[in-house]
């Protein structure tokens, strides 16, 4: 191993992250090469100087955290939430279906183009985003006098 291979891996060697075989080679090189040993000693010195004590502990910290906790949504609440999304979806779908059927029944002579779909998208967390197929919209337009 030569210096060009050793210098780039010295940091990982210091952190104990080198493959054992490679680490052994680096160790042997450092024993024989004064220039690389100098770099290694600098790294070791830096490691010593970087060491700082942790900030002073705050005995009230856990109490403050615990005081700020809001209750977690219980498992049953999560189930109810999912059920309510499903119910809303079903209601919108049924409304679209009924609307289509009634329109077809009223205007036999002038058959309106059948509405194909009403697509409803419900975001998982915020209720609301609804996309209605343009055929469904056109039914409303046709019904106006």
């Amino acid at each position: 191993m030569n210096c060009q291979n050793v210098i780039p891996v010295l940091s990982a060697y210091q952190d104990g992250e080198l493959d054992p075989a490679l680490a052994k080679e680096v160790g042997l090189h450092l024993r024989d090469c004064a220039a690389c040993r100098g770099e290694w000693e600098d790294l070791q010195e830096l490691g010593r100087r970087l060491r700082l004590p942790p900030p002073a502990s705050d005995p009230f910290f856990p109490t403050r955290v615990m005081a700020g906790l809001r209750p977690l949504p219980a498992g049953r609440h999560r189930l109810l939430q999912a059920a309510s999304y499903a119910l809303i979806f079903l209601m919108i779908f049924l409304a679209g279906f009924l609307l289509q059927t009634s329109t077809n029944g009223l205007a036999k002579a002038e058959r309106l183009p059948a509405a194909t779909y009403s697509a409803v998208l419900l975001e998982p967390q915020g209720l609301g985003l609804m996309a209605v197929h343009e055929d469904t919209l056109s039914l409303f337009e046709r019904e106006r006098p």
């Binding site: 790294l43 100087r49 999560r78």
Partner: protein, 201 residues
């Protein structure tokens, strides 16, 4: 359950909390608060702000417990949340400074002001000042990788779990960070007569 029973794994405590024993969350807070505050302090260079960020992080972690996957790696989960909150705070600081400079005002925000924030008496040493200011000048990714390695003694693999980076990238970041710090800390601390400097002659 006793406060910080070492026999209980993190995942066992999480299960207890999710089963309605919210008070057991204090075990996890006590177990990790020291490391978490240390991490955020070294990242922000502001001990007061670090406590506030760490507190917010613990509250957020609690709310996200139902989404935690039990892989016996709660440590990576909480440090990921803390890392994101710390980087958001640092970005907000940068934006504030940018806009205030735009308005021609001088700011006295922690990561940019010349003097260090209020430190506890034991932190007032010259060496700590030098190390803190040198860390603060490192690029964010280098600082994050180095702080996780040096102050939390994470392996490169654990750092990868927190940051999502590959091991070679982490190795490069840490090596570059040490290279920069060698120039600043070793040179300055020894008043120009550093080991580093002497060897370069």
């Amino acid at each position: 359950m006793e406060m910080d029973d070492p026999k209980l794994s993190d995942d066992e405590v999480v299960t207890a909390v999710l089963n309605g024993r919210s008070q057991d969350y204090e075990i996890l807070v006590r177990r990790y608060s020291g490391k978490l505050i240390h991490f955020v302090t070294r990242m922000t260079a502001d001990p007061d702000e670090a406590r506030s960020i760490a507190q917010e992080a613990f509250l957020k972690i609690f709310q996200n417990l139902p989404y935690y996957r039990r892989e016996n790696n709660f440590s990576a989960f909480i440090f990921k949340v803390a890392k994101n909150m710390t980087l958001n705070w640092l970005n907000r600081q940068k934006r504030t400074v940018f806009f205030s400079r735009l308005l021609g005002r001088e700011l006295n925000q922690a990561p940019f002001r010349q003097d260090l924030p209020r430190l506890s008496p034991q932190d007032r040493s010259e060496r700590e000042k030098l190390v803190t200011s040198s860390l603060r000048r490192l690029p964010e990714e280098q600082r994050l990788a180095l702080v996780l390695k040096v102050y939390l003694e994470f392996s490169y693999k654990q750092i990868g779990e927190v940051t999502g980076w590959s091991v070679p990238k982490i190795e490069t970041l840490i090596s570059r960070a040490k290279g920069r710090l060698k120039k600043t800390i070793l040179l300055q601390e020894s008043g120009g007569e550093s080991v580093y400097h002497a060897r370069k002659k």
